[in-house]
């Protein structure tokens, strides 16, 4: 068991290291001199040279890369070029919006997927199954940012149930914040949930054809108990796989949907930083997003082992 974890953990670290290298190289190629952008086009060459030295941008790339990485290991993300404040200060507030939003939409999409997927599978080929799958096909096709606009129009503008945008900050109270996150989370969760619901349905139907389901029925278990006790857990493996793969898309969606709701999350932070050529902020934010994806997939790997005891044995 511990070997299994250790191996997965090493993969996680290696992926993150690789990601950091790619991100750094990409940002090196990015045209635009941070010093020039900060000082404006009228700035003198001396002033630019001075600021370049001050920011440490004249040092070799390799040295700056290792500075960045060792800084991260010590919990220091460096200082923003544009605002001259620690990156963490810029990012901290954004993380407190993006992470809860991503988690909330993940929970919503899984709940939606399980309810719809199981219901459709239990009513296989009946009218309810066919119409639910038609709706989910439609759900997959809807761009999440458009759904966000529609949700604002209906629930915020017409019904006034939820705020149309912005984020009050966690100091204002838990429920106010959750209320602000509901609409963006629903916008994100609908598309993800539609994909996952289809996977859940087909996976459940697939497992229903397995021999051990016949054994369970031969024991005298009803169709329903068989579904809950024997089919559900076995059918969760493809669902979790897709969930892991979709998480990256969910995060990307978060970046866009935050924009619709004018929330100062990681999305707006990274877009602003790209405009300012604030490379260090971009590097850190993108690495954070990559880290979230990688950690999610790490959790997925562990969930595999929890669900299916065969995998544990396989890896040791």
């Amino acid at each position: 068991m511990s070997v299994f974890f250790a191996k997965r953990f090493m993969t996680l670290l290696a992926t993150l290291l690789g990601a950091s290298i790619v991100i750094f190289i990409v940002m090196e190629i990015l045209p635009g001199d941070p010093a020039l952008v900060i000082l404006g086009v009228e700035a003198t060459d001396e002033a630019i040279a001075l600021l370049t030295t001050e920011l440490g941008l004249d040092r070799p790339a390799l040295e700056r890369y290792f500075d960045w990485i060792f800084g991260i290991l010590q919990g220091d993300l460096g200082n923003s070029y544009a605002y001259k404040v620690p990156v963490w200060e810029l990012v901290e507030g954004a993380l407190k919006i993006t992470v809860p939003l991503a988690i909330l939409s993940m929970i919503l999409s899984v709940a939606l997927a399980l309810v719809v997927g199981l219901y459709a599978a239990a009513n296989h080929n009946k009218a309810s199954d066919i119409s639910l799958m038609g709706i989910s096909q439609l759900g997959i096709s809807i761009p999440n940012f458009w759904l966000a606009v529609l949700l604002i129009l209906y629930f915020a503008v017409n019904l006034r149930w939820f705020p149309a945008g912005g984020f009050p900050g966690w100091d204002e109270g838990f429920w106010v914040c959750i209320k602000a996150l509901i609409l963006p989370a629903v916008a994100l969760a609908t598309v993800q949930g539609a994909i996952l619901a289809r996977i859940t349905r087909s996976s459940v139907l697939e497992v229903f054809r397995e021999d051990f389901v016949r054994t369970a029925r031969a024991k005298g278990l009803s169709q329903r108990s068989t579904l809950w006790l024997h089919v559900l857990r076995n059918s969760m493996i493809p669902v979790i796989t897709v969930m892991g793969l979709q998480f990256a898309n969910l995060l990307a969606g978060t970046v866009i949907v935050e924009n619709v709701f004018h929330m100062p999350g990681l999305g707006s932070t990274v877009l602003k930083a790209i405009n300012n050529r604030d490379t260090i902020v971009v590097e850190n934010v993108v690495l954070m997003l990559a880290a979230m994806v990688v950690v999610t997939n790490f959790i997925v790997d562990i969930l595999y082992a929890v669900i299916d005891p065969r995998l544990k044995a396989h890896d040791i």
């Binding site: 990409v26 439609l138 096709s141 503008v157 898309n249 990559a290 994806v293």
Partner: protein, 264 residues
């Protein structure tokens, strides 16, 4: 069937809009702004006095261009790399696959944002960005399906008769994985349309005055509180296009690869 007709309908819209649109697409006339739905303007006009239906039709061109170019980039580069990986095996395969594994940690739109950040915002750049994202998708699919074909008896027979790897790839491998690639291309086409819309919505894609569904949505959002329908149409067009292409993909899979459809 439904998917095919929706896709054909969109193609028709794009074709017609090349020659004729019911109203003005590029011209700005303040006098006709925010006109309600009428016989002349079926969906009304926007804040610049442009006919919304005409904009939607012209936007079809944009989406189709993006889809075709982005999928072509992905197809040519990705299928080439995938076939190479499958034919050469060894370290070539390892390198190509590790690279494409890696790019999966970065979601489509995020990598597109980064790439447009490097290349600068613009229609062409966003297409390239989406195209680059398509490369590993096709590379993985091609390599996986090609590897399966390489183990078949008729390929063994071809190798035994002294045919080179390049010739076998052209004569046996490619024709056998074509149907899978076509299905995937349809799906990637839909994803490309979605991604372009997202980029244009963020202001990183198609620039004014070229009509684009994503940008229409962006422009409409500022007016959303008093012109809500203006935000509804372009999104509906995107959803319809993606829906049609996804259905077409499913349909093609059923026709081209009956084994896959039965498993579903």
């Amino acid at each position: 069937m439904v998917g095919g007709s929706i896709t054909a309908f969109l193609l028709l819209c794009a074709l017609i809009s090349l020659f004729w649109t019911p109203g003005e697409v590029y011209g700005i006339s303040i006098a006709t702004r925010f006109l309600p739905v009428s016989a002349q303007h079926w969906l009304g006009t926007d804040q610049f006095g442009r006919d919304i239906l005409s904009l939607l039709m012209a936007g079809t061109q944009n989406s189709i261009t993006v889809g075709v170019v982005a999928v072509s980039i992905g197809l040519f580069a990705g299928v080439g790399l995938g076939l190479l990986a499958s034919a050469r095996r060894g370290w070539t395969e390892e390198l190509i696959m590790r690279f494409s594994d890696f790019s999966f940690a970065f979601p489509a739109i995020l990598s597109a944002i980064m790439i447009t950040a490097i290349l600068g915002p613009g229609g062409v750049n966003s297409i390239i960005a989406i195209g680059i994202y398509n490369v590993p998708v096709f590379a993985r699919l091609t390599r996986g399906s090609a590897n399966a074909i390489w183990t078949r008896e008729y390929v063994m027979a071809a190798r035994a008769s002294g045919k080179g790897k390049f010739r076998i790839t052209i004569e046996h491998i490619l024709p056998n994985i074509l149907s899978i690639l076509i299905v995937q291309a349809t799906i990637q086409f839909a994803i490309a349309i979605l991604a372009e819309a997202a980029l244009s919505y963020l202001g990183l894609g198609t620039q004014p005055p070229h009509p684009s569904w994503g940008r229409m949505l962006n422009e409409a959002q500022t007016l959303m509180f008093f012109q809500p329908m203006q935000a509804v149409y372009p999104g509906g067009a995107i959803a319809l296009a993606v829906f049609g292409l996804n259905l077409l993909g499913d349909g093609l899979r059923d026709v081209l690869d009956p084994r896959l459809s039965r498993k579903r």
